[in-house]
């Protein structure tokens, strides 16, 4: 049956019903009613520029850390100790609650074979989940949604939202594409265009021709934009977020979550991590921005009983060289730590072995965990999607979530 339901009326219905109707594929593909991501949602934060993981989670018990970094090593007196070996950079002060209350874990030495030290290339590798020597023009989250499309319908764009003016590779699939927006208000500006409005309720069944494709994209985007704008009016956060752009983005995300938006995946980047020069003048400020933002998000979601359904993954396109450079900074490196936050983590704290500062490759850390193991785990255990379809091959499962 061709359903003639007006999508807009439909949007005002309950989240569950509309989610099921928008994405029949979600139900069909997995053949069970546990689909639809189980009401869980994923927030991905990229620390753009290459975060210096060794100055973020500091291996203070290792003398090599201090001998490699005589000027930029963080002094032991300032550290926030996590155990006998590792400590937070003091700028991560605001994460202490999350750490102590069992909402954070740290995975060390994440990377991939033949690491690429170009920002662009390494970012694309992380976004597309490709091998180092293969170029894939779609993102892993985009493909996760692709795998849920049926013949003619994919999930609407707002199922994966990026807080930015333009859409990154990570949310672009072959068929599905996510929705980029700075904030719902700016999205609403796009709706002022009378032409967009006039065509927004067209019923288009296929996108075989580019003509149909563009009109369908218009309809889908309009409906998604309208959905997001309407959701954004439901809940306005009662807690105070820091006045950084990054935190403002997280506020948009938490308001959408608390308003019951059916969005499954959010993506946001925090930049300013390319610390080649005078690192300690800049890096702590970025870490502080990260920590304060995440802490505000945590408080907001927890107060509204949404923290248990939320998983936050924080990564960077690469880490940095173990040895400091001549300008009191660090150069592009390789393997790095990945952080997980959420109320439903299976394993807490430090998940694996410490970074090995002796056995280096060209002065850089060697990876022990392929980043795609993180993706495979998130896909299978959190989003209920077959990882090998999305990633093209098998990767071992990790246990940070159950």
């Amino acid at each position: 049956m061709k359903n003639k339901i007006n999508r807009r009326d439909f949007l005002t219905n309950s989240v569950l019903v509309s989610a099921a109707m928008f994405m029949p594929g979600f139900l069909r593909a997995t053949g069970s009613d546990t689909a639809n991501f189980n009401g869980k949602r994923l927030i991905i934060v990229q620390l753009t520029g290459g975060n210096d993981g060794l100055n973020t989670i500091i291996p203070y018990s290792n003398d090599l850390y201090y001998s490699n970094r005589p000027d930029i090593g963080v002094k032991t007196a300032d550290l926030i100790r996590l155990n006998d070996d590792l400590a937070f950079n003091p700028a991560l002060d605001s994460l202490t609650d999350l750490w102590e209350q069992g909402s954070m874990s740290i995975l060390n030495n994440v990377g991939y074979p033949n690491p690429n030290r170009s920002h662009f290339r390494s970012r694309d590798i992380w976004h597309s989940a490709s091998d180092e020597n293969k170029i894939i023009n779609s993102g892993w989250i985009g493909r996760a949604f692709d795998s849920q499309c049926d013949d003619s319908h994919c999930a609407l764009p707002h199922n994966a939202i990026e807080i930015d003016s333009s859409l990154s590779l990570i949310l672009r699939g072959e068929k599905f594409s996510g929705l980029a927006m700075d904030k719902p208000l700016e999205l609403a500006q796009g709706l002022n265009n009378p032409v967009i409005k006039a065509f927004s309720s067209l019923d288009i069944n296929d996108s075989l021709t580019n003509h149909n494709f563009l009109y369908k994209e218009l309809v889908d985007t309009y409906q998604s934009a309208e959905y997001v704008v309407s959701k954004s009016k439901i809940y306005s956060s009662k807690i105070i977020y820091p006045q950084t752009e990054f935190s403002k983005g997280l506020k948009v995300i938490s308001e959408l979550i608390i308003s019951g938006s059916e969005t499954k995946v959010y993506y946001q980047s925090l930049n300013g991590f390319d610390t080649h020069v005078a690192q300690n003048n800049f890096h702590p400020r970025q870490l502080k921005s990260l920590a304060e933002g995440l802490n505000a998000l945590y408080i907001d979601l927890k107060q509204n009983n949404e923290w248990n359904n939320t998983l936050v993954v924080v990564y960077s396109e690469f880490g940095r060289r173990v040895k400091q450079n001549g300008a009191r900074g660090t150069d592009h490196g390789t393997a790095n730590n990945v952080f997980f936050f959420g109320g439903n983590l299976n394993k807490l704290g430090i998940l694996n072995e410490l970074p090995n500062l002796i056995d280096l490759q060209d002065g850089d850390l060697k990876y022990t965990i392929d980043f795609r193991s993180v993706y495979a785990t998130v896909l299978k255990k959190w989003l209920d999607i077959n990882p090998s379809i999305v990633l093209g091959k098998e990767f071992s499962m990790l246990d940070f979530i159950a």
């Binding site: 003016s165 980029a180 563009l214 800049f282």
Partner: protein
């Protein structure tokens, strides 16, 4: 039935990047064959981009400090060259040569932090854009920006770097799946010693070149880089790979195997004569088939150039246009990766579609469009709140040619002027309905704006 005028418009939209309203009124003076002739004749001229002067004094080599300074200024300089190229694209008579220069820039996609070398490469491409693909490939293999981009200076006799060899086969010639890993390893050795000197010029370091026997695609010999390129071009698969890409850019994303096969055979037999290939395409009756007209989603560059030609679209400052191109996903000289821009439907996502559809209204100051480009990796500040993208425009020449009195006639006329697809009943009904609400004094310009805000306008 497709009118002669529509065919000529199709020709100019695809071969070049559109036409001005005044130019269109002259179309009927010549037939298609004469227009094709004109297009090639006008593209004989090679107008280099000379935005940046050679940064070194004659005979000098760059010092490390000088190199560092160039790198620091490079993004800004390259953006300026990119803008200068856009202006050229909007005004040049040699529009086919420029369009092909964009095409080959995408094919031999390069991005290095040396603005001057990007300009050198651009002029090398332009010179060969309508010539021989064989010569173009040889020239690009020795192009300093390419050597830098694909790490061939790090391709040493005793420690080969395979980056260039891999992309040469995967992207530039055969296409993925038509070679082995061994072919890559062996051919990388043939390119050892190909590097650049501190004057920014190609240098063959004989003592760093591995002149041993290489086994490459079933043959063995002490091949040099030039031999490898010639062997790749002697494979018909290369002609097919290139023709397929040309076809998708200039004819239709939906490939027609029969057309591609016969074009490939001709391209191969002509020893890769690009001009001949393009001439065959534009002279073929299938080029003007209904399914090929209005089937292509304009690239961001094509959209902006078309708007410049139609309504003299101008950014308030160059940075606005750079931002706009970045959010739409295509800033020339800054391709996203060695694979270039993917094109077609990949240009479109919700945000970019709305930014495209809002451009005509925004250029009239009717409402604002806000957007921010993604920050550079090196930026130390956080993302700034979205900025207004402020454009101006001049509609007088378009308005001169708009015909009709009633809403219905105005919409019909605007659509005929601006769209390559026929108005559907739904479109017509909606546009007339919207024009109904316009005040009498702005009906004409509103009719044009409505059509330019439609998804159909994105198709050429």
């Amino acid at each position: 039935m497709i009118s002669e005028n529509q065919k000529i418009r199709h020709l100019y939209l695809r071969a070049g990047m559109g036409f001005t309203p005044d130019e269109e009124t002259q179309f009927h003076n010549k037939n298609i064959e004469q227009h094709i002739e004109d297009i090639f004749k006008n593209s004989e001229k090679i107008e280099n981009l000379n935005y940046l002067p050679y940064p070194l004094k004659n005979g000098d080599e760059a010092s490390n400090t000088k190199i560092l300074l160039m790198i620091l200024k490079s993004v800004k300089d390259t953006q300026s060259i990119s803008i200068a190229w856009m202006s050229k694209l909007a005004t040049t008579k040699a529009s086919l040569r420029e369009h092909l220069t964009v095409f080959w820039h995408n094919h031999f996609s390069t991005s290095v932090p040396f603005a001057y070398l990007m300009q050198v490469q651009n002029n090398t491409i332009r010179k060969n854009a309508l010539g021989s693909f064989r010569e173009l490939t040889h020239a690009i293999a020795k192009d300093p920006a390419m050597i830098n981009y694909l790490n061939n200076q790090q391709n040493h006799k005793n420690n080969p770097n395979e980056n260039f060899a891999r992309e040469l086969m995967e992207l530039f010639t055969l296409g993925v799946g038509n070679y082995s890993e061994k072919d890559i390893k062996e051919s990388a050795r043939a390119f050892t010693g190909w590097t650049i000197d501190k004057k920014g010029e190609f240098l063959f370091k004989e003592d760093d070149h591995d002149d041993g026997i290489k086994e490459f695609r079933g043959k063995s010999g002490s091949f040099k880089g030039e031999d490898i390129i010639n062997m790749l071009l002697d494979d018909k698969q290369t002609a097919k790979h290139i023709v397929r890409k040309i076809y998708k850019e200039f004819v239709n994303e939906m490939e027609d195997e029969q057309n591609i096969n016969s074009l490939s055979a001709e391209f191969f037999n002509s020893n890769y004569d690009i001009k001949k290939l393009m001439n065959t395409i534009f002279s073929s009756s299938w080029f003007y088939d209904e399914k090929n007209i209005g089937s292509k989603i304009m690239s961001p560059v094509e959209l902006i150039i078309r708007m410049k030609k139609l309504v003299n679209l101008m950014p308030k400052e160059d940075m606005i246009q750079i931002k706009y191109q970045k959010v739409l996903g295509q800033l020339l000289l800054f391709p996203p990766s060695v694979a270039g821009w993917k094109g077609g439907r990949n240009w479109i996502d919700g945000a970019s579609l709305f930014l495209r559809l809002n451009l005509a209204y925004a250029s009239r100051g009717k409402f604002k469009i806000n957007a921010n480009d993604k920050p550079e990796f090196e930026d130390t500040e956080e993302v700034k709140p979205a900025k207004e993208l402020y454009f101006t425009s001049d509609w007088t020449s378009l308005l001169k040619y708009l015909k009709g009195e009633t809403d219905d006639q105005l919409i019909q006329s605007a659509a005929e002027m601006l769209l390559q697809t026929a108005l559907t009943e739904t479109e017509k009904q909606k546009f007339v309905g919207l024009l109904n609400q316009s005040p009498a004094e702005s009906k004409k310009i509103d009719a044009l704006t409505l059509i330019m805000s439609s998804p159909s306008f994105q198709l050429i």
